[in-house]
């Protein structure tokens, strides 16, 4: 196994000092990969922390361009990036942040047609999307390829995070059977404080690193839900459903 270079030993010193990482964990991280789907409020900080931590390869998928309304929370995009494809804007910053990491931009919308092939190229998937249709597509692709799926969603001052290990714990559709009704309010109507997806995404990045290093206890069989206004964090019990349309017993 290749040793860390002196520069890498310095760059990752604070990671290496963490007992659950160490030199071996850092080397493992440098050999690992993750796909972040969505380069927005969740995807920006999740990708940033994974790349800073020294993940070896990070895929970033999004088909959108940078809009002025994005900039209060989507921290990989700056004012001069307005109108640029999000993955292009994000890739520039991530490559500048850590040249150890191979950043792979996927400048397209993830669909049922391309999801499985895309997901199969990475060790795990971070759900940084903003809609349930995309999440359900990714949930299926992760089940099919047996890739961990680290979910988060936010609205206004609230959010939730859950890690799904295919066929070992509940999948997304065990918990959320149908997309919210069309009348359900979104961040367009109810807003979202920029730091809230940041908070959720930091938890996602932590879960991803723990999974890749085989350390700690993941948010499996429990869903972390938080409210930034009362600053309350709770975990709710969630269980794999034998009647789940996606992962249940046929």
């Amino acid at each position: 196994m290749v040793d860390l270079s002196p520069l890498q030993e310095k760059r990752y010193h604070r990671n290496i000092q963490v007992p659950c990482v160490g030199v071996e964990g850092q080397k493992k991280l440098l050999r690992s990969s993750a796909l972040v789907v969505g380069a927005g409020g969740l995807g920006s900080p999740a990708a940033y922390y994974l790349v800073a931590a020294g993940i070896g390869r990070l895929g970033l998928a999004d088909g959108d361009v940078v809009d002025l309304t994005n900039l209060q929370r989507q921290i990989l995009h700056f004012t001069p990036d307005l109108g640029r494809p999000k993955v292009e804007s994000a890739t520039d910053k991530l490559r500048a942040l850590n040249p150890d990491c191979e950043v792979v931009p996927h400048n397209f919308v993830v669909t049922a047609e391309n999801a499985t092939q895309l997901v199969a190229q990475y060790d795990l998937v971070i759900d940084a999307t903003d809609n349930f249709a995309a999440r359900f597509v990714l949930n299926k692709a992760c089940l099919e390829t047996r890739r961990p799926f680290i979910h988060a969603a936010v609205l206004s001052m609230a959010g939730r995070v859950m890690t799904m290990l295919p066929y070992e714990g509940p999948c997304l559709r065990c918990v959320f059977r149908e997309p919210p009704s069309l009348s359900a309010k979104t961040t367009f109507e109810l807003g979202v404080l920029g730091a809230i997806p940041g908070l959720a995404a930091c938890l996602q990045a932590t879960e991803a690193i723990k999974y890749l290093l085989g350390q700690g206890e993941l948010l499996v069989n429990r869903m972390l839900i938080f409210d930034g206004l009362s600053m309350t964090f709770e975990t709710a019990e969630v269980r794999r459903d034998p009647e789940c349309p996606d992962c249940g017993t046929p």
């Binding site: 969740l42 918990v175 009348s183 359900a184 709770e234 459903d241």
Partner: protein, 78 residues
């Protein structure tokens, strides 16, 4: 029969309770989750997922003694 109810992310305003607080509720036999929503005037459209003992259940599920019910509103942004 006695159940435990927990509500999150804004639904607590219908009950006047705190986020995620455990609320003991006495119910009659054959009470459904939908009946529970009606009791607290929670619109069904504001419940994205109802979990009973950690498992997804439809709003027409008949609650059993000791059930732990959690209600979540739609939260889907990123």
């Amino acid at each position: 029969m006695l159940i435990e109810l927990r509500v999150y992310t804004g639904l607590e305003r219908y009950l006047g309770t705190r986020y995620g607080e455990k609320i003991p509720v006495t119910i009659d036999r054959s009470t459904t989750i939908r009946d529970l929503l009606a009791r607290y005037s929670i619109p069904a459209s504001e419940v994205s997922a109802a979990l009973v003992n950690g498992l997804h259940k439809s709003l027409d599920y008949c609650l059993q003694d000791g059930d732990r019910v959690s209600l979540f509103p739609p939260v889907g942004g990123g």
